[in-house]
């Protein structure tokens, strides 16, 4: 069983296999399930992700609060206009990441990856890359196992909870997971995947969890958008041969320690950051029908 990224990479390199294979084998060992059972279970998760993306970019999704919904779809229309500055692939990933989180905010069905609040980054990037890299269904399932392997290390050595470690633990982790999975899907090496994870997560360190009115909407949906774009850039950097000066495991450890020193107001309590801005408070009062002076 791998305990950190270094061991995961070492295993994949010595066995000359993909990171996804290491994760699948470990899952088989831990649960006693067959390869077929494990991969078909992941296939089901992939289907849920696909349906959420499709729903978010085609339907008029709106959350109960009315704060979010429709932006993923808006971005798809913008891509079609041909005027995009950051490129179609990038914006497609951003749109699909947002679409997933908009469905989530509307209490729709999603697959937590690694959490619900950060569920957009991994599928958003995957379904955008689908158009460029033409992966098989099997490769798409592997993408999720690769992302899962890195998330597994983060969850056990740091945290994937916003209440415990801030948004860096949620969207930050998802971004690192996606960056690593993109590298593997694009044909990069296991160590390049680890570099991508390190580069992506470094740029998410310190990110606080400050949801307006305590809802998984503002700023969560747009943070998934930025997470998706960050993941693609980090993957490209690693594929170009750029390495992180700080090893991936140390970045994960830094994230954990930053989370421990984060005040509770910035860890999913809706008491600080954007939640405590005048507009944030106003929205909260309006949504829950509580007078502002009682907050």
């Amino acid at each position: 069983m791998f305990r950190n990224v270094a061991e995961l990479i070492e295993l994949a390199e010595s066995k000359k296999c993909k990171i996804a294979d290491i994760m699948i084998e470990q899952e088989m060992e831990v649960t006693g399930r067959s390869r077929e059972e494990v991969t078909s279970f992941m296939d089901r998760n992939l289907t849920v992700m696909e349906e959420a993306v499709l729903r978010g970019i085609t339907e008029d999704v709106k959350s109960h609060s009315g704060l979010t919904g429709g932006d993923g779809k808006l971005l798809q229309e913008y891509i079609k206009s041909g005027k995009s500055l950051s490129g179609d692939l990038m914006l497609d990933a951003v749109s699909k990441a947002m679409a997933t989180n908009e469905v989530n905010a509307a209490m729709g069905t999603i697959c937590a990856t690694p959490t619900a609040g950060s569920a957009g980054v991994v599928p958003g990037t995957l379904f955008a890359l689908k158009g460029k890299l033409n992966p098989t269904r099997e490769q798409m399932i592997e993408y999720l196992f690769t992302a899962g392997a890195f998330g597994f290390v983060v969850a056990n050595n740091a945290s994937i909870s916003g209440a415990a470690g801030g948004c860096q633990a949620e969207v930050g982790s998802a971004t690192g997971m996606a960056a690593a999975a993109i590298v593997e899907l694009a044909g990069g090496t296991p160590s390049q995947a680890a570099e991508a994870m390190a580069i992506a997560l470094k740029n998410m360190l310190g990110l606080v969890c400050d949801p307006v009115a305590g809802l998984v909407e503002v700023p969560c949906v747009k943070r998934n958008a930025m997470g998706a774009s960050n993941a693609i850039v980090a993957a490209d950097m690693a594929l170009a041969g750029i390495v992180s000066r700080i090893p991936c495991d140390e970045v994960i450890d830094a994230m954990y320690k930053i989370g421990l020193s984060m005040p509770s107001a910035l860890r999913e309590t809706a008491q600080g950051g954007l939640a405590a801005t005048p507009t944030g408070r106003e929205l909260e009062a309006k949504i829950f029908g509580i007078p502002l002076n009682e907050k």
């Binding site: 831990v30 619900a116 909870s161 415990a164 809706a270």
Partner: protein
């Protein structure tokens, strides 16, 4: 390691908006329901920390009641759980607590009926994963990920051996085990996570041990 499966990371499939505050809450409610073993007539729920501050926005209230109604994380009926509970005659009350707990996402659930009640404390540790940290005043650690046996017994020599012998005879393997007590020589609780499901024969056999007071089974 807290997380053992890749599906703790890529998963669960769930109703939004929060894996810790919605899916996790549903799972805490559902474990309480399974421990109680039948539909309760009342549910008293207390929220602590981040749960207390944000439960409305996250749908923690509907989710935990959905769990008490035995709904899984992806059951769309969760959205209407409060209304359904009312229709089914379950009296639900909720309190926001100020007390600081070890984990920021903590809920205390008391469910019961005229026959009895149970008190469960659960924490939601991220990504939908939960742990039960307290049952009727006993400290414990239960993930709810594996089938488990909860055995209330007298705190006396031979209790563990007696239970383990019966499990061994039926070829049931123990994955994790914990024993706790409130006071030396009084009531104690054994929590045994097992790799196979224990059938009624085994439960009856365990119940027939003189040292055992009660056996509760939780399925995978």
């Amino acid at each position: 390691m807290k997380y053992k499966s890749v599906f703790d990371i890529i998963g669960p499939i769930m109703i939004g908006p929060s894996s810790s505050h919605t899916a996790g809450a549903a799972r805490i409610g559902r474990v309480a329901r399974h421990l109680f073993g039948r539909k309760p007539e009342f549910a008293k729920i207390s929220f602590y920390g981040s749960f207390a501050k944000t439960y409305r926005g996250h749908g923690t209230d509907v989710a935990i009641v959905g769990g008490i109604l035995d709904y899984d994380t992806f059951d769309t009926r969760i959205v209407d759980a409060l209304t359904i509970a009312k229709q089914e005659g379950i009296e639900v009350s909720m309190t926001e607590e100020d007390a600081v707990t070890d984990h920021p996402n903590t809920a205390r659930v008391i469910i019961g009926d005229k026959e009895g009640q149970i008190e469960v404390v659960g924490i939601s540790i991220g990504g939908g994963k939960i742990e039960i940290t307290e049952l009727n005043g006993f400290s414990l650690r239960l993930s709810g990920n594996h089938p488990a046996l909860l055995i209330v017994h007298n705190d006396k020599y031979g209790a563990i051996a007696g239970v383990a012998n019966i499990l061994a005879k039926h070829e049931i393997n123990i994955g994790h085990m914990e024993v706790s007590r409130k006071e030396k020589g009084k009531e104690a609780l054994m929590v045994i996570e097992i790799d196979q499901n224990a059938d009624e024969v085994i439960i009856n056999e365990l119940n027939s041990l003189p040292i055992v007071q009660q056996v509760v089974k939780i399925h995978d």
